[in-house]
């Protein structure tokens, strides 16, 4: 319970780093994707340019208060995830406000942004927004099943729900990472991560060619800027969460950058290969192999 200004400033710095890393990560990954298909791809600084442009647009319209607040909620979801997550293991400076709660808090705080976004998009009154939200929520329900199983499995394994302690338990070297000590849980979680990041084949929320582009259809300018900022933070934070749970955490920024990049890349990599699922396929898919892996992850501890 450290409410000091120093802590606040350190956290702000961390947030700044994470945001920028998030943007760099996305441009890098898009570049990699472009190279795979023989293109050059966007310049590495493109996200910053886009963001600058979005913040500098001259005309903005709003459908109402909730529409206005939606991006704030959404960004708060990402920022909050960052705030409650200890980024660098063993570091007071980069542990943020993780003393507020443990893994459960983070799992449930994800919903904060989703809910705000859903409501904001809803007030926009666009049919596609609602369709996107309904798909997203539907898919989210089953994504959570393997995720919950994996989390419980880890909690059984380490007898704790505190992320710092989970990371601490993996500090013995490469083979003490959860990915080796509890491969089933890792498998389940990594498969559910595919859904959480929303890349193909699970990109039916935004589904650009189908319901352009889902919930943010009506968002533009600063609002969209907020959503993009959030994406940058959220991708890193979520990847960092998985890193902490399964891949030994990070003791310094370099490690964090490498690991989060690889974790994020995993979802992009899958996305490159598979086309989009229909909603019922996606919903069912998570209840098949990922759930089975999750159950196995618990059964081995029974």
């Amino acid at each position: 319970m450290d409410y000091s200004i120093t802590k606040f400033l350190w956290t702000l710095l961390g947030l700044f780093i994470v945001t920028n890393w998030g943007m760099l990560m996305s441009s890098t990954i898009r570049r990699i994707g472009a190279r795979v298909s023989g293109r050059i791809g966007i310049p590495w600084y493109q996200p910053w340019v886009d963001l600058t442009k979005l913040y500098s647009l001259k005309s903005q319209v709003s459908h109402g208060t909730m529409f206005y607040l939606g991006p704030v909620f959404r960004l708060m979801g990402g920022v909050g995830l960052f705030l409650f997550l200890p980024m660098i293991f063993g570091s007071w400076h980069w542990s943020n406000y993780s003393f507020s709660g443990d893994l459960v808090l983070i799992l449930y705080f994800q919903l904060f942004g989703m809910l705000g976004m859903a409501l904001g998009a809803g007030e926009g009154g666009h049919p596609y927004s609602t369709i996107g939200v309904s798909r997203g929520l539907a898919q989210f329900t089953t994504i959570e099943v393997p995720m919950t199983l994996a989390v419980i499995s880890i909690a059984i394994q380490y007898h704790t729900l505190s992320i710092s302690q989970i990371v601490a338990a993996q500090q013995g070297g490469f083979f003490t990472w959860t990915v080796w000590t509890n491969p089933f849980a890792t498998g389940a979680a990594m498969l559910s991560l595919l859904g959480a990041f929303g890349h193909s084949p699970f990109n039916l929320i935004q589904a650009p060619n189908e319901i352009p582009i889902g919930p943010p259809t009506e968002y533009h300018g600063v609002f969209l800027g907020f959503l993009r900022t959030n994406n940058a933070i959220l991708h890193v934070a979520e990847a960092a969460l998985f890193m902490n749970l399964f891949f030994g955490g990070a003791t310094n920024w370099i490690e964090l950058i490498v690991k989060t990049f690889l974790i994020y890349f995993w979802s992009v990599f899958v996305g490159m290969v598979f086309p989009r699922f229909r909603i019922e396929q996606s919903v069912r898919w998570f209840l098949k192999i990922p759930t089975l892996l999750g159950i196995l992850a618990i059964v081995i501890f029974l």
């Binding site: 903005q60 989703m114 989210f140 329900t141 419980i152 019922e280």
Partner: protein, 1043 residues
């Protein structure tokens, strides 16, 4: 003192006098008749007074100057005094009731009428068996005569059947009398008892013949077609007399003659009684004719009392009390109902909705129905309670089951009937005229029921503790029902607050009770505040709401098993009336009632087993159940789970809550459901984990809770009706609570309490606000709403906060429950159940989004343009609750710490506090810090957006990018209907209405069976005669023929 022989003498004299009067002197005749009836009522009443107040000894009246066995003697004891008074009262009231029709049919019928009443008196009093036969014959001839004089065509057929059947029966009785005289040389009952016929060779056959005739007089199933036809066809006034008077007398005969045969015959009495009770009620389930239905019910009740007589060895000295309690309820209710049917004159029970225009008659009708089923505060409640307790104490579980099964089948048709009369359209062809002579008897019977209930309560063990104060308040409100709504509302609120102030010091810091008292009474006040939004008088609402709350508060106050069950039933009754008030609530109120009664009987059975284990009436007996321990706990749990609407027992809830009035829904959802939770918590407290079988039970219930959560939430996802969605959500939430407390750890219980408190708050808000909106918009369908955020911003905020709590999103208090549950699940090791529960928790988002989106967001409909915010009276309680949520969210330690401390007495401590920070062996969480962090960050971000977005233009509702097109209608642009179609495709199979289908099939089977069974009543009088003969033969073969 007037000797009872004058009853005979005066009536006979009057009858002769009436016989010689001119047929035109009907006025004088009726004065004489009433005078005679008043006289005999006075005589018997005087004796009753003597016995009750002066404790006079039993008196024997000798006739003809000889002692028995040489002459007939009558006996006047307490029993006889009670019964003759009852018979004479119903005779007098019946006489007053029938005055018109007796005048019409002439003086002779008056003579027959009084002779009939007199004969019943003698049947009760006589100690001579042949005299008994004579007066039985007189009574049946008089009945036949009365039916005949009534001059209704169908009644002739019934009368003919009646005369033939009773003729055969009385001839058999005569054979029995002759034989017993032959074997024992006495016609006196006492002499026959002394002779002990069973020990004499051939005496058994004599006894058999007497008993079978007496039983047949009671119209046992199935040899009773002739009796039912009489009830159906004859004048209701006469039916009332037969049901209340003749049956009473005949039952007493059975009781009187019982000692002659000793214990050998009693099981047969009981079996026949049970078969009659169940069979007759079962056949009633398909009946639509009110009089015939009452006939079935009468026969059923008589069967029950016969059963009690047969079970007297187990009941001991309580037999008379139990029998009387049930008899008096049957007597008053059945007489009242038959008289009512004479006023309404409807061919089918649907026609009774004519009562809707006559609230006081409707109230009486309800009184009679509830008295028949055995609801408190009526005597039958205490009768059934004592009966079940006594049987349990002797381990007679089969009999208990039979009694409860029979009572349940009775409830099936009685509540269908009550529902029809409360809810159906008033028929145009039925008008109820006010006639004082017809109203008065009904009113008196109603009053008698309440009076007897109060009077008999102290005779039951623990009955003296029952608190009638809240009930008195309910009556006060009923008496003030003519006042406008705001007066009654203020009065109710004041009453509840006063009671709260009085109650809390009495609870002596029993935290659990304090919490539930806060939920029940605080919730009551808040939901009643919303009632100020209503206009007009709301007839009947306040007494019933307060009845429910008195039941709830009674649960809190209960120290004994009796008080607990008493309050439970009061609550059920009150909530039934609240639920059925909704516009389309009839079927839902009905299914609610059936599930409640089924649950109540399961609870009763469980309580009886608890009582039987130590003959201890206090609530602590639940902790020491030694009789069929597992079954007892299972039954209790199942009983409570009908109220919490757990999986399998939940089908009543969506309709009941969804269709209820806007401020009733929060009462029944946010508050009433907690009664079930309270029951379960109490049960688990007492049960503990050490009791044999409890581990398994808890494990199963844990799974039930988890699956309830899943199915409730999934059910809500696919609803289009806003209130039904909330109702399904309640099922899910109650599933969480059940799951949490079955874990039996400190964390689990803390989670359970958190969910309970949260559910109370958010569901009250949601039902209040959504209910208000539904009323305002005039539709339940969410797809017909939309865009309300601009019209009702305060409602939106209230709903938004509620759904954040339901979703368990930090920083609001819902997350406390989730966090505790996660820790509890992992600590307990119930991983897979936990996953199901968390899966359910995520599914909740689907319906929450659908709810808030469809109502508040999306496109505003054209016809809702001029909408204003809902009434402030609804918003005030909602916002008070929101403050509660906020405080609980920011300072969870204020609530969770004391509860945790309380729980450490029962469970090992596993939640620790360090300032604002809670931690377990697994994890930690700091509600206050979370709140601070989130609020600060949110404010900063919002500030940033405000600065960055500069000028923002507000645009119209169709200014959306619509693939370069434009929308034309809000209806076609608002996405709400079936938005989870894809989800339904994927997981829709999980919401297959398996449970609904199961219960439908069960009810179809019961109804089919009943329809098949009642075909034995072919209407042919020869068949009925054959039934009588066959009954005798079969009974003989079973009892004496070694079959």
């Amino acid at each position: 003192m007037v000797t009872p022989i004058y009853i005979v003498a005066v009536i006979l004299g009057l009858a002769f006098l009436l016989g010689i009067l001119k047929s035109s002197m009907t006025r004088l005749g009726s004065i004489l008749m009433i005078g005679g009836l008043v006289f005999i009522t006075f005589v018997s009443g005087q004796w009753l007074y003597e016995f009750l107040v002066n404790h006079r000894a039993t008196d024997i009246i000798y006739t003809a100057g000889f002692l028995p066995p040489y002459a007939i003697n009558l006996q006047m004891g307490l029993n006889e005094a009670i019964l003759t008074t009852m018979i004479n009262i119903v005779g007098l009231l019946g006489g007053i009731y029938l005055l018109d029709s007796l005048k019409k049919t002439g003086i002779n019928s008056m003579a027959i009428f009084i002779v009939f009443v007199m004969s019943l008196n003698v049947i009760v009093m006589t100690r001579d068996i042949f005299n008994l036969f004579v007066f039985l014959e007189i009574s049946s001839i008089a009945t036949g005569g009365l039916i005949l004089l009534d001059n209704k065509r169908k009644a002739f057929q019934a009368g003919m059947k009646y005369i033939i059947a009773t003729g055969i029966i009385s001839n058999f009785l005569l054979i029995g009398i002759i034989f017993s005289y032959y074997f024992a040389s006495s016609l006196n009952i006492d002499g026959l008892i002394a002779a002990n016929l069973m020990s004499i060779k051939g005496g058994a056959i004599a006894l058999f013949t007497i008993y079978v005739s007496i039983i047949l007089e009671l119209k046992p199933f199935p040899a009773n077609g002739w009796g039912i036809d009489v009830y159906t066809a004859s004048n209701p006034g006469i039916s009332a007399l037969i049901s209340a008077g003749s049956a009473t007398a005949a039952l007493f005969v059975a009781y009187k003659l019982m000692p002659m045969g000793g214990s050998f015959w009693l099981p047969y009495f009981a079996i026949i009684g049970a078969i009659t009770f169940i069979g007759s009620n079962l056949m009633g389930t398909r009946q639509e004719n009110p009089n015939r239905l009452l006939g079935y019910s009468s026969i059923g009740q008589v069967g029950l009392i016969l059963m009690i007589i047969g079970l007297s060895p187990y009941l001991g000295k309580d037999t008379l009390l139990i029998g009387f309690s049930i008899l008096i309820s049957h007597y008053a209710a059945k007489a009242g109902l038959f008289w009512l049917s004479g006023i309404i004159k409807s061919k089918n029970i649907q026609g009774w909705s004519a009562l809707r225009k006559h609230p006081y008659l409707l109230f009486l009708f309800g009184t009679f129905i509830f008295a028949l089923i055995g609801f408190p505060p009526f005597p039958s409640f205490f009768g059934k309670w004592n009966l079940i307790m006594a049987l349990a104490a002797h381990g007679q579980y089969a009999w208990m089951t039979a009694i409860l099964a029979g009572s349940f089948t009775e409830a099936i048709y009685l509540f269908k009937w009550l529902g029809y009369s409360i809810k159906l359209e008033v028929p145009e062809d039925i008008t109820i005229k006010f006639e004082w002579n017809k109203y008065l008897p009904i009113y008196l019977m109603g009053i008698l029921l309440y009076f007897m209930g109060m009077y008999l309560a102290p005779f039951t063990e623990g009955g003296v503790y029952i608190n009638f104060l809240p009930l008195a308040f309910v009556f006060l409100l009923f008496a003030l029902d003519f006042l406008p709504v705001y007066v009654k509302n203020t009065l109710s609120i004041a009453g509840i607050i006063w009671y709260m102030v009085r109650l809390f010091p009495l609870l002596e810091h029993d935290l659990m009770r304090e919490i539930f008292a806060g939920i029940f009474l605080g919730g009551a006040v808040l939901t009643l505040v919303a009632g100020y939004a209503k206009k007009g008088k709301r007839p009947g609402f306040y007494p019933m709401a307060l009845l429910m709350f008195s039941g709830l508060v009674g649960l809190i106050e209960a120290n004994t098993l009796l008080e607990f069950f008493f309050s439970w039933e009061l609550m059920t009754a009150g909530s039934y009336f609240l639920i059925i008030r909704g516009k389309r609530s009839m079927p839902h109120g009905y299914s609610y009632m059936l599930f409640s009664i089924g649950g109540a009987y399961a609870i009763l059975f469980g309580l009886a087993l608890a009582y039987a284990s130590g003959l201890n009436i206090s609530l602590a007996a639940l902790g020491h159940i030694t009789q069929l321990t597992t079954l007892a706990y299972t039954l209790l749990a199942v009983g409570f789970m009908t109220k919490t609407a757990s999986l399998g027992l939940h089908i009543w809830l969506p309709g009941a809550h969804g269709e209820a009035e806007s401020d009733v829904s929060p009462m029944v959802s946010a508050i009433l459901l907690k009664a079930g939770v309270f029951g379960l918590m109490l049960l688990f407290f007492y049960m503990g984990t050490g009791t044999p079988g409890s581990e398994k039970l808890l494990y199963v219930l844990g799974w039930v809770g988890a699956l309830t959560a899943l199915s409730g939430n999934l059910g809500a996802v696919f609803q289009e009706d806003a209130k039904r969605l909330l109702a399904y959500s309640s099922i899910g939430q109650l599933g969480y609570i059940l799951f949490s407390i079955t874990m039996m750890t400190q964390l689990g219980w803390l989670a359970g309490f958190t969910y309970t408190i949260n559910h109370f708050m958010f569901k009250a808000i949601l039902f209040l606000v959504i209910g208000g909106i539904v009323v305002k918009l005039g539709t339940h369908n969410m797809y017909e709403m939309g865009g309300m955020i601009k019209k009702m911003p305060y409602s939106f905020v209230a709903v938004l906060i509620s759904i954040i709590v339901i979703g368990g999103i930090p920083p609001l208090s819902g997350f406390a429950g989730k966090w505790l549950l996660y820790n509890a699940v992992i600590q307990k090791g119930w991983y897979f159940q936990g996953v199901v529960v968390f899966f359910a928790g995520v599914i909740a988002f689907l319906y929450l989004f659908k709810l808030i989106h469809s109502v508040f967001l999306g496109q505003l409909k054209d016809n809702h343009r001029n909408m204003k915010e809902i009434s402030a009276w609804i918003l005030i309680p909602s916002y008070i609750l929101i403050i509660g949520i906020m405080v609980f969210s920011a300072f969870p330690q204020w609530v969770l710490k004391p509860i945790g401390n309380m729980l450490t007495v029962y469970f090992p401590k596993s939640l620790y506090w360090q300032g604002t920070r809670a931690f377990t062996s697994l994890g930690y969480w700091d509600g206050t810090t979370t709140m601070i962090v989130v609020v600060t960050a949110f404010t900063l971000l919002l500030g940033w957006l405000v600065i960055a977005s500069k000028k923002v233009k507000r645009i119209g509702q169709f200014n959306i990018v619509y693939a370069a097109e434009r929308p034309y209608r809000p209806e076609t642009t608002h996405v709400s209907y079936n938005i989870y179609a894809g989800y339904k495709k994927a997981l829709g199979f999980l919401v297959t209405p398996v449970v609904e289908t199961f219960w439908e099939n069960v009810s179809d089977m019961v109804l089919d069976f009943s329809g098949w069974l009642r075909r034995i009543y072919s209407g042919n009088m020869q068949n009925y005669a054959l039934h009588v003969v066959l009954f005798i033969v079969v009974f003989y073969l079973i009892a004496l023929g070694g079959l």
